[in-house]
Symmetry: C2
Subunit: 305 residues, 2 copies
Amino acid sequence: MSAVRFSRIAVVGLGLLGGSVARGVRAHLPAAVTLGFDADPAVRARAREISLADEVPETIDEAVAGADLVVLCVPVGAMEAAGRAIAPHLAAGVVVTDVGSSKASVARALADALPGVCVIPSHPVAGTEQSGPDAGFAALFKGRWCIVTPPADVDEAQTARVLAFWEALGARVEVMDAEHHDRVLAVTSHLPHLIAYTIVGTASDLEEVTQSEVIKYSAGGFRDFTRIAASDPTMWRDVFLSNREAVLEMLQRFSEDLTELQKAIRKGDGGMLFDTFSRTRAIRRSIIEMGQDDARPDFGRSHSD
Amino acid sequence: MSAVRFSRIAVVGLGLLGGSVARGVRAHLPAAVTLGFDADPAVRARAREISLADEVPETIDEAVAGADLVVLCVPVGAMEAAGRAIAPHLAAGVVVTDVGSSKASVARALADALPGVCVIPSHPVAGTEQSGPDAGFAALFKGRWCIVTPPADVDEAQTARVLAFWEALGARVEVMDAEHHDRVLAVTSHLPHLIAYTIVGTASDLEEVTQSEVIKYSAGGFRDFTRIAASDPTMWRDVFLSNREAVLEMLQRFSEDLTELQKAIRKGDGGMLFDTFSRTRAIRRSIIEMGQDDARPDFGRSHSD
């Protein structure tokens, strides 16, 4: 990990991702000084209590002053404001990255807010449904992919430093352009979240099936969607607003495919249903082979409690 | 468990559910003789190898002859044929139940196939994405709900015996009418499966995002859907064909709700998105409190491998 030549790392935003970055740095890059900041005083107080970072100053100026790496871990809709807040206090030679789930809009926002600063956006594809300063853990990134989307004109040596940083936290890294990232994530992450939020909402609104029935019988499939639909609402609102075009396009395709299945059910076309349901198993197998999910049945849920 | 006065229990169909019923009986009702049968000779051979039941005869006649309980564990589309196959060989006083995921159509099919026989349909709301004779385990039903849908004219003492049977296997039981069952399950199980199958199909068909990218970045949410979409295709084809009306109605409501969110994204209505995403967290909390899911973040997936 000698390639990581960052010695003072500021983490702005101390939720699930920021907390995990801070813990990851402390665990894997103990020589670096970590500074944590959150706009919410209660989160700062909690971060100090649990020693999330070496220092948790009261102001963002103090947090980023002298830092050679700043990791912005705020919702994507707050990136531009965070960029403007840190801009006057950045040291020369600093690299700014982030963990936002959409990249083209974040790249534009940070380029506007931080003219002349080396900005190399990142997206570690990792998370849980939990949020807040207590939710993070150092191993969150282990074995997960982190997509880095350097602007065309950026110094390659700086990109290499950012890649080495994520590798030090246990991630596997990939370089991609921001627009392609946004299309890939629209289908692998944003659309699944949108659909999960929708179906959980649909189930809550039924008159003839009670909420308590929905909860009781959730083990038939519904409960898996509720995990995703328990994710942070602010973060996800911002993702959909910032990656609007790609999400709407994927949603359009999904709706067309759903209409086809709806027609097959209406017509009683068992052959079409069987064929569709058969070809989806291979993808599951590949995801497990690639180490991106748990191979144990039912996610290894305990059946003995 | 003295209320379970079944002494010879035949399990027809030795997949995930049938295998779990057979193992559950052997574990929790050791005094009963278990007979297993599957239409597939390879499954019968495997069932004998792993001692899934006390006896695995070559014919369905031998399997059900003398049984006082028959549990049909075949796909719902095969229930009527299974009923007709066992009809001539049933002992007087036998109770027939099943594990099908839709109940009104199964009740009709079994009433047609088994005139004069005591049929009390059941649906244990439990399962994993695995299938086949090796997939089952005795604890599958533990703490899960089993919905029993007795016909109006059935002897209540017989219903009590069926309820006690499922309780002996560890399930919590609930009595419901078949039509209401089908609406509840349409939203808590059938619609989630349909949507999961759809989105996994949509992702596979994209031209500009490769299959390998979908797999690599699946940890952003998509992987949870692939688990459900790896479920048995025959079983699910039959569920959608047999519970068509309720599924189509729930699908219609889901589509309307999805269109509302689509409009909010298009118009940039962050307030509507935030409100929708906020009210879904409470349901997750209730599901965990009710013991129907794992409280650990990310389903307790290992982050250290």
